[in-house]
Amino acid sequence: MQNRLTQALDFQTQALTLRAERQRLIASNIANADTPGYQAREMDFANALRQATGRTTPAGALTATHAAHDAAVTSLREEPGLLYARHSQDAVDRNTVDLDRERASFTDNTVKYEATLRFINGSVRSMLEAMKSHTQG
């Protein structure tokens, strides 16, 4: 019973963790907007969330879809679930960060992170309300 109460929260928790992860990823891209040779990374959020909430993989784990993987040389260590962003323009210093797109993604992710937080707060509030109503009428 206890488990069923918090079951709705599990999904949102995973979503929040992944949102935080994506926020950090975009922050790294913005930080490296002027670094020569830096390859921008991106996260396939829908797929990562599906993997994280599925039974097959442990919570929070990311798994890769290699569809958009670029074979470009990078100094970054390989991490499952992270893709290389497709770049729109070639830069002389081989940097693939598109600052406009990154800023848009950052704002988008900020709003969605807050939305997830509100969903969690809403669930908690309705749960508390449900506990109260019996005794306090």
Binding site: S28, D34, T35
Partner: protein, 135 residues
């Protein structure tokens, strides 16, 4: 808590951009320098950025790997009365290009602002996360 890493990442970038701004400042300050302490004309400097891995691939900061000097020849002006003039009467000034430096300055300051904004957003998100489940 993975969001706290954002402050390391953006902080390192802001610090690297500050260093770049510093170099630009010294370049602009020395744009008309005739000779430095070693008797040579001032050479324009540039910072080189490098990705700095912080734990995992999704958090990559920035560091300044080296400061390079532009070895090209500076501007030479015929001015025989100048105390620093050579045998032919030419004075060698620094090889700083003020236009390049101004562009560099604007770029550095914009990147700095971007990183500060990222940190502010991360901070407000973290503060909201702290209030999770309350009210």
């Amino acid at each position: 808590m993975s969001m706290f890493k954002i402050f390391d990442v953006s902080g390192s970038a802001a610090s690297a951009q500050t260093q770049r701004l510093n170099v630009v400042a010294s370049n602009i300050a020395n744009a008309d320098t005739v000779a430095g302490p070693d008797g040579q004309a001032y050479k324009s400097r540039q910072v080189v950025f490098q990705t700095l891995l912080m734990g995992e691939a999704s958090s990559a900061g920035v560091q300044v790997s080296q400061v390079t000097e532009d070895q090209s020849l500076g501007r030479r002006v015929l001015d025989p009365k100048h105390p620093a003039a050579d045998e032919q009467g030419y004075v060698t000034y620094s090889n700083v290009n003020p236009i390049d430096e101004m562009v560099n300055m604007i770029s550095a300051s914009r990147s700095y602002q971007n990183n500060v904004e990222v940190m502010n957003t991360a901070k407000s998100l973290l503060l909201k996360t702290l209030q999770m489940g309350q009210s």
